[in-house]
Symmetry: C3
């Protein structure tokens, strides 16, 4: 089944990118190898685990050895070769965007499959794509992802919303997945390429409420 | 069934207050609209989600579109009108107290319904009422709610404990709910009105242990 | 059944040590008594709750009144007598090491019992032993446990890995538990005694990636 295989492949690409981003954060914090593995796992599995837990089902990474082993290998590789990554964060950002787009759409689909309402499905897809990175930043004491000015959660929300809308309009599943992923990836790519950001709320100075 | 309807209404009032508090935190952090929605949802759904997850059941907000839609509407409204809220935090604090009192009692009741022990039920009620705000503060990099000197978690614990005690004494459910909510609300109101706080632990200067 | 009784006893020793460590953190933050109880419960129950939630089963502390009551008693005792603990953190560290070693092995065993793969079981055992302390630090705004230079998560990972390896080699359960716990405790003890730490990643100065 080629499409399912493609999604499986993209899942590994995205998970590896998330694990690499987690391990690079661990390198900035000068952790030991076990710390690299824990933070890589937190980043790669955090969003999907929260999705499964909120849906009341056991988490996906427990059953099969592949993903947990891959995360450990990635973390150890980054521990020894992080210096080489310094000039290569751009490919990492694109691989991360693939993971974000995929996880947003598959998160929304999982929620619909468990009977969630459309609004809740969009919210859950966005959470699946962003919570791993948010957890990583909180545990490592960095400025959380969601506070940064670039478009990230917005791209995930767009992809999840488009998938849900097409699904409700009766579009076949594979086409809806491709459309949702493409929209999320395109918006994120535009943000990376052009430095786009959404208009943010401007606080007036000197007020505290 | 008028009492159930009243609780449903209070649930919306409290959730809207929690969502507003979350969106106002997002405004202080100058987030974009999607950030407003995510932080509002985290604050409004965080405590109840943790309650449901700890009890091993799917979370309540997934099934019905009402709450998730309301949170999104509140967050967007705050994005455009947050300036108007500056002088109106006092009504917000009172609506928040309604939500806290309700969630503490209903959290304890849900725990008892799943066979929890009385102590665990009081703890779970307190968590339900306070965890959303704690998550919001941690993700936004603010001083967590629980570190502030005012009475908040204590009022939730009092309401949950009174409800559990009355329930075990055989008091009818509706009366126990009203008594627990009233106690939690009254203590929180006194704290807001009089600036009450519990005696806190005083560290001796110059020690680090 | 003496071995089960011994594990139950060690479980209380370890939980009490975790609760004490949580309450001492609350004392550093000068919280009120309810804050002491909440942070003590977070530290003592956080790791095991995450384990149960990830495995898709209700959390262990809900059903029986013993652990929740013990945590509350410990927290209140620390509130009144924390000054006496100042010179007694060394016994606390050893009791904490007992809890860490036990929770790492029992967490890995619970994961295997639910059909997790070996790698996932090691990861879950490590999480069970360390997540309560990480949550405590994040909620209290301290430098998270995992960022500190001493061996802690590594000892938990070693114990979980040894238990999983022995279990897969067909070693009887009680012997595998004793071996895993002993390895985790011994490594942690060596780290406490000798100030050992793993080689950490050295960032080159002046780079930001």
């Amino acid at each position: 089944m080629p499409f399912a295989l493609l999604l499986e492949l993209l899942n590994y690409v995205g998970s590896a990118a998330f694990a690499t981003a987690g391990a690079l954060t661990a390198s900035r914090k000068q952790m030991d190898p076990v710390g690299f593995i824990l933070i890589a796992a937190l980043t790669a599995f955090g969003g999907g685990s929260l999705r499964d837990v909120l849906l009341g089902r056991p988490v996906a990474w427990l059953g099969s050895p592949g993903p947990a082993l891959m995360v450990a290998v990635v973390a150890i590789a980054v521990f020894f070769f992080a210096h080489r990554f310094e000039r290569r964060t751009v490919p990492l950002l694109w691989a991360d965007a693939v993971g974000m787009a995929l996880f947003a759409v598959l998160g929304a689909e999982a929620a619909i499959g468990e009977g969630a309402s459309p609004w809740a499905a969009i919210l859950l897809g966005t959470i699946t794509a962003t919570f791993g990175g948010a957890l990583r930043d909180v545990v490592c004491g960095e400025v959380p992802l969601i506070l940064r000015k670039e478009i990230y959660a917005t791209a995930a929300a767009l992809g999840a919303a488009l998938f849900v809308a097409l699904h409700m309009a009766g579009v076949p599943r594979d086409a809806a997945v491709v459309a949702g992923m493409s929209a999320a990836f395109a918006l994120r790519a535009a943000a990376l390429w052009r430095g786009w950001s959404l208009p943010a709320y401007k606080a007036r100075p000197g007020r505290d409420y």
